[in-house]
Point group: C2
Chain length 220, copies 2
Amino acid sequence: MKPSTSIQDYLKRIYELTENGSPASTNDLARELNIKPASVTGMIQKLANEKPALLEYQKHQGVTLTSAGKKAALEVIRHHRLLETWLVQTLGYSWDEVHEEAERLEHVISEDFERRIAAALGHPLRDPHGELIPTADLKMPLDDSTPLSALRKNQTGKILCIKGADADLLRHLDELGLTPNAMIEVTDYSPFDHNLTIKVEKKTHVLGLSVTSKIFIEQK
Amino acid sequence: MKPSTSIQDYLKRIYELTENGSPASTNDLARELNIKPASVTGMIQKLANEKPALLEYQKHQGVTLTSAGKKAALEVIRHHRLLETWLVQTLGYSWDEVHEEAERLEHVISEDFERRIAAALGHPLRDPHGELIPTADLKMPLDDSTPLSALRKNQTGKILCIKGADADLLRHLDELGLTPNAMIEVTDYSPFDHNLTIKVEKKTHVLGLSVTSKIFIEQK
DNA sequence: AAAATAATTTAGGCAAGGCTAAATTTTACA
DNA sequence: TGTAAAATTTAGCCTTGCCTAAATTATTTT
């Protein structure tokens, strides 16, 4: 049976927190979900003890998803990213506005709806932020991007994705022309503070690590 | 604060059941909501005792909406009907498929989303079934339609609305060409069983009262 | 290695929103 | 008009999913 909205949120966050390979901690999960750590413990204990478990959990060791849990998480993430793409393309939402709306819609659309928007959009590979959209058979495509922070003087690339930016930063990046598909050239690098000087569309900007680590590039 | 999904459903059904002027009974409401009558009693008692009450209720006398309750109901109904229109026009849903999808989406879309689809659709007056869409300031437009069952031989009209038909009947009516905007001519009337013989697009059909009372007409 | 701090879990509680069974009204009808 | 049937309400219970406070376990620091 389809997981509840709450459980879908748990799975989605656990998926994100475990992308680095290590289990998700109770605390981190609580922060991401805006609920108390004690509540998280209760929920993951319940989920770990169900018949076909969606996740695995040992006291004090954090949580990981089973493959069933991963599928369920990817379903939600696919919904989210298709919805963001669709809202931007058909209703004129800007990329810093769509997140909240998609966050609610992702839990209630049917598989039929998912198929229809995917088809209407031409089965896109990435959403408006450049995040990869899980495929219809619920696999996450391989990510071949590198963070902008890894580039050095005279290297160039195309922006693929902006990760983990809030609406404010997104608006700011938009003003600078730092959106997916923009071409970037690194004109200087400061080894002290890791600042990068870059050129986008004739304009030059100096960016700190907190920004350059959120911009992902296809290196040229 | 925005009512919960459950409460929104109560309000919507009560609105529909009280459109005839009389209060909605516990039983009817339970049937429409697919829950037990005892549960309905509990919920409406709670709602009737809140600070700014959404509904009025006296034991054994049924429920009616306050004007605040009506507004809240019309908001949900507006969402539903705009969504149905939107899904049909932009995603190719057929009019017998949209209901379920809209039933879930209506509770989670933002006012911003509502405005965007209303504008994209050109602020439509009716949804795909012909039902009137409450206005942005939450008033239900006047309904000047008459049931097809009230027409007699040689009278003609345009179909405005199909009310209370399930998906099966909707598909059937679609096949007969009995959809909103179709022009109809009554070629015969049987006072015994109230059957009407009608002509739509060169074809003739005989319809019983169970159907003719669900088709609403703008009389010519 | 002990003490302090941080993270996590346990225990007990609460609100929402359902359900069943039993009691009470209301309505219908003989 | 009295009684049976139907509708409604009451009472008590359950699950979901969150909370707080207190207890426990891990991790740091000294």
